[in-house]
């Protein structure tokens, strides 16, 4: 397995390991960015206003129950006639990953805001903060630890699930797993699995570091 990874042949060409890692991170990053754009504002709104709590929880749980592999095949077949290009594979892949990433981001943002000490919010109001001011200067900073943990679990799930892109002809590290299985090259398969695991751990570590530098010291105590 180690020798498979270190074999120079596997570092060049159309299936080069760095290229596959790049594709893997690109799918994941696009999906996470879209998921943040969707999940974060909804979480903020619901946490701040306490409106639509039931709907957010219900939607999040329903989304979590979706089987990613089945969904990606279904979407590829649905989108097939719409795009003649590779978009017919890329868009379904991103949709599936977004649906996977939205629930943890959305629910953790909501839960983080909702769990802020009401005394702090009242004090801020009393000092003349507007509703938006309360959200941005009091609730959001206090909720950051939970928001980061939501982002972390979303990232982990997306990076490990982005392997399914390879099932619908796209790249990424899933290529090694799926091609390895099809061609009975089990070293290639194991190498793919190990690389996905390693990539996930590295990215997780980076987010952990980032959260360390952005969180208020007061919250870390």
């Amino acid at each position: 397995m180690i020798s498979w990874i270190t074999n120079p042949q596997h570092w060049t060409g159309s299936d080069a390991i760095p290229l596959l890692i790049g594709q893997h991170l690109a799918y994941s990053a696009v999906a996470l960015a879209i998921a943040v754009l969707i999940g974060f504002p909804i979480g903020l709104y619901v946490g701040h206003t306490r409106r639509g709590v039931v709907m957010v929880a219900g939607t999040a749980n329903a989304l979590r129950a979706l089987p990613s592999l089945g969904l990606i095949v279904l979407l590829v077949i649905l989108f097939g006639p719409v795009f003649a290009s590779d978009l017919a594979f890329l868009i379904p892949c991103v949709i599936v990953l977004v649906l996977l990433a939205v629930p943890p981001i959305m629910t953790n943002t909501y839960a983080g805001i909702a769990a802020v000490d009401p005394a702090a919010v009242d004090a801020a109001r009393g000092m003349g903060y507007s509703s938006l001011g309360v959200l941005l200067h009091v609730e959001l900073p206090c909720a950051l630890p939970l928001i980061f943990s939501g982002l972390r679990s979303a990232t982990l799930q997306v990076i490990s699930t982005a392997t399914i892109a390879a099932y619908v002809s796209l790249g990424g590290l899933g290529r090694l797993i799926i091609d390895g299985l099809a061609q009975r090259d089990y070293f290639e398969m194991v190498a793919g699995a190990v690389l996905v695991g390693a990539l996930t751990l590295v990215v997780d570590l980076l987010i952990a570091l980032a959260s360390r530098f952005t969180l208020s010291r007061g919250l870390m105590r």
Partner: protein, 304 residues
């Protein structure tokens, strides 16, 4: 010490026999006691996919109307299950595909053309098992394009792809890339190299969707796939036999072969074509029953 050993041994035997009991009862073929039926009766079996069950139904109906007593045992499983059942006498007759059956019996087989495969298969058959005359009908891997692509580039055979393949994207199962009966053989035997390859599924919904919608222009599709008719696909001919022939052939317990059986099954094989299989697979896809589809086909070909 000795006592406890003995006791353990007794327990082990008891447990084993208890485990063996339900296993025996659950074995549909009763491995312990092979049961060749009363002399004339032929037990027709089939693999666990619709086309195999359909052809088996046709065999059974044709034999029945020829006056041969028939029992059926459909939907048995994979080759690994039904070939042992054929050898031990639990079933007598099955429809098979010549190339796959040959590879099952001889992993290193290299025969590819219909006649070579049939000859090699005959030589590789286990004792007590025979094949009758293969049909021209095949369910083989094909390089398939849409009617529009075929018209645009004047394609009829894989060889016609040579000058234009550089503009076309191919698709198929991931192993296609590295297999002799795939991209490797296409280049070696026909000099055909596609612009790129998209790893999809094994002639499944993803491959068909990509082919029909233009994400790929050529794909590995099975020659009797109902989409051949439904989506106006064209299977390119394979004059140099890159893909091993997969002729439909009756495989039968030698003890059950007699002139009436030979005559009846040969008549079925002679009349059956790949196009018939496509049409019948379409009918099966429309939820018609095996019995109905088999009956209609026999009637249309006047086999009694």
């Amino acid at each position: 010490m000795t006592k406890s050993l003995l006791r353990n041994a007794v327990y082990a035997c008891a447990t084993l026999s208890l485990m063996a009991l339900p296993a025996l009862a659950a074995d549909p073929f009763g491995t312990a006691a092979p049961k060749r039926q009363s002399k004339g009766t032929i037990i027709v079996g089939s693999a666990n996919f619709p086309e195999s069950q359909l052809i088996a139904t046709i065999y059974a109906k044709a034999l029945k109307s020829a006056g041969v007593p028939v029992e059926t045992h459909m939907n048995i499983g994979s080759r690994e299950v039904y070939i042992p059942a054929l050898i031990d006498g639990s079933i007598d007759l099955l429809p098979e595909y010549s190339g796959s059956m040959l590879t099952y019996l001889d992993k290193n087989a290299t025969a590819s053309s219909p006649t070579d495969v049939a000859t090699a298969l005959k030589a590789a058959l286990p004792k007590g098992v025979s094949i009758l005359t293969p049909s021209a009908a095949q369910d083989a891997d094909t390089v398939t394009v849409t009617q529009a692509t075929a018209t645009k580039y004047h394609l009829a055979s894989i060889a016609d792809l040579k000058p234009v393949a550089g503009d076309l994207v191919s698709g198929g199962a991931p192993e296609w890339q590295t297999r002799e009966e795939g991209a490797v053989g296409l280049t070696r035997i026909y000099g055909v190299t596609f612009k790129s390859f998209k790893p999809l599924d094994e002639a499944g919904p993803l491959t068909l969707s990509a082919l029909v919608n233009g994400q790929v222009q050529a794909a590995d599709v099975y020659s009797t796939d109902p989409s051949m008719a439904a989506d106006h696909l064209v299977a390119l001919s394979d004059p140099k036999s890159l893909f091993p022939a997969q002729n439909v052939v009756p495989i039968i317990a030698t003890a059950k072969v007699n002139p009436i059986v030979i005559k009846t099954l040969n008549a079925v094989s002679a009349a059956l074509t790949t196009d018939d299989l496509i049409k019948m697979n379409v009918a099966l896809g429309n939820h018609e029953s095996f019995n109905e589809v088999a009956k209609d086909w026999l009637k249309a070909h006047n086999i009694k």
